[in-house]
């Protein structure tokens, strides 16, 4: 799959299970100790309304030492899966931090809040540190959807990515509609970049 239609970034503290999430989605299996090469990047074809959409999924380094450079990862991403570990409260705090970062730097990127390791909580309710009642307000604040997933059982994983794919396609169609409206009104397109150099654009279109 050489053509990637949409970039999806996984963010979250280290050891929340970002890589397992990707593995589960792409290979349909849970591999806690399975050895894979290049698991940090994956691409997957989703069908939306009978049309293929290839998602490129970027895993990121969640360590705090790399916090300042993580910004480079989500440049140009259409969706971001914000992972936190249901059994680890600090990871949820990190997610909160990233949600703020994302809305500031990449407003176009849609956020999906995702609690991982649900299977552990299902087995033993005492291990739950992040209640749904804590996560839901955050999801509401940032206009995101909340998923609680388990890479072990595969719960909610497919629905998470299907939602992303569907939203991407919807966003695209509404974008093109706006685009067409604008084009029909102005005659030609002015995106932000060309608007800055309006004079040059005219010169170019004449030549």
């Amino acid at each position: 799959m050489s053509r990637i239609d949409a970039k999806v970034v996984l963010l979250g503290k280290n050891y929340v299970g970002k890589t397992c999430l990707v593995n589960r989605y792409i290979h349909q299996r849970f591999m806690p100790y399975q050895i894979t090469i290049g698991a940090a990047f994956g691409s997957m074809k989703e069908m939306v309304d009978g049309k293929p959409l290839v998602l490129g999924i970027w895993d990121t380094a969640g360590h705090e030492a790399y916090e300042s450079i993580t910004r480079m990862y989500y440049r140009g991403a259409v969706a971001c899966i914000l992972c936190y570990d249901i059994t680890d409260k600090s990871s949820f705090e990190r997610a909160r931090f990233w949600a703020g970062e994302l809305t500031n730097t990449e407003p176009k990127c849609k956020i999906y809040l995702c609690g991982t390791k649900k299977d552990i909580v299902d087995d033993d309710q005492h291990k739950r540190q992040v209640e749904l009642s804590m996560a839901q307000p955050l999801a509401r604040d940032f206009g995101t959807e909340l998923f609680e997933t388990s890479s072990k059982t595969g719960e909610n994983i497919d629905s998470l990515f299907k939602t992303i794919a569907r939203d991407v396609v919807q966003q695209r169609t509404s974008d093109t509609k706006k685009h067409e409206e604008r084009t029909s009104r102005d005659g030609f397109i002015l995106d932000d970049k060309t608007r800055q150099r309006g004079c040059r654009l005219v010169a170019c279109s004449l030549s």
Partner: protein, 484 residues
Amino acid sequence: MAAKKPTKLHIEASELLCKNGCGFYGNQLWQGYCSLCYREECQRAKVAQQEQDSKKMMKKQAEDADKASLFSKFAEKKTQHINKRAHTLKSMFKKTPTKESVPEPRAKRQVNKETQQIKADLMDYLKQFKRPTAEDFVKIVQELVDKLYQNADAPVEDLTDLVQDFYIKLGKRMDSHSLYKDLSSEDIDTLLDYAEKYITVKMYTSLFCPATCDDEQKDLQMQTQIRSLHWVTGQQLDTMINEHETEVRTLVDQAITEIIEVNSKKAPQDKLSCIVRCSKHIFEIIRQSKEGPACADDFLPALIYTVLKANPPLLQSNIQFITRFSCPSRLMKGEAGYIFTNLCCAVQFIENITHESLALTQHEFDRYMSGEAIPPQSGNEYMCEGLRLMYDNLKTLAELRQRQEKVMAEALQLQQEMKDFKENFKQEVQNVLIRMPLTIKPRKMKVNLDDDSESLDLLPSPLLPLTVDNVGMDTRNTRVRLFH
């Protein structure tokens, strides 16, 4: 001709530092100066030479080219060097009022092998399409190349805009124009690739690290920074790289080779594929050093470690080049894009490295950075490539020695065995001989009784028959005598 100018391209071991004594390393291509001092020197020389007429300059340039060509190893840098010269030369000419001395922009064009190769490939590829389509494609690409030649001195941002606008325009044209409607999406992708490759390789000298930007300075800063971070170990970066295993070390070496190779490739996609290969090695290292899936949490530190160990030449320039002139669709989304982003992150991390990112105190960090002290655990690590190689070689030598000793011992043993065997054999033969002594029987001779031989003389003469006189009593007498 060469005698006119002292050959400064030759370098002594002691002259590694910049001749200006600024503390940076010099380079023979910069005539022993570091790049900054060399630039200043060039500026001075430029002013001094302004009176000289253009012919003389051209001659000198050719001379320089001749000299530089001796160093085929630095062919890459050489072209850059010459180009820079041509650059200063050209900007100089602009100031001279006489019109005839302004060289044609076409005169700068260098036909090099790589460009020709790509051109030939492209032409081959275009053969499968209809003639008007191919012609249109070539025309568009050629237009951009001409435009780039005309704007060779423009700021690099303008060049970037030119090229990026071109990609967008070309992509749109191929999507919508009727000439291209028969092409499959793979064909369009390949054509875009070819366009990118052709343009960047052909215009490499003016697009890569142009004089109008500060890439070179950043390269230098980066290089110095990496050099002063030589003490950083894998453990400090939280990598699982176990450098003591030969296999892992080989992979590290391979990754380092690939990342250094980036500078020798010209087209952005070739540079990117080097980076991708490098990261494949890194993933393999992680796979060998750790149980479990290789994730970004392991990959980024390992990549940082590789960059630190490799200290790739002109890293910033290369990254900038790829960012500026490669197709945006490739850079933002695919796997190459992912790995490239990781490399950018690694570079940024190294640039902004602090004591916190290595979990050290400020004091420790400063001391390590200034070279006053080295981290205690670094004794286990191989501090530098040379030392590591030396240890490797020593190990190999020791192994060889052991093997030689073994061979020697075995040879001696074999000799002894052979001796013993000989002795034993002799002994056995003796025994057999004693048991069965050899008696030589005289050979049986055939005796010819009728032969005349001396021994016959010794024999008594044969009996002679009695002659009987009486013939009448012959038969009876004879018989009687016989019976007697």
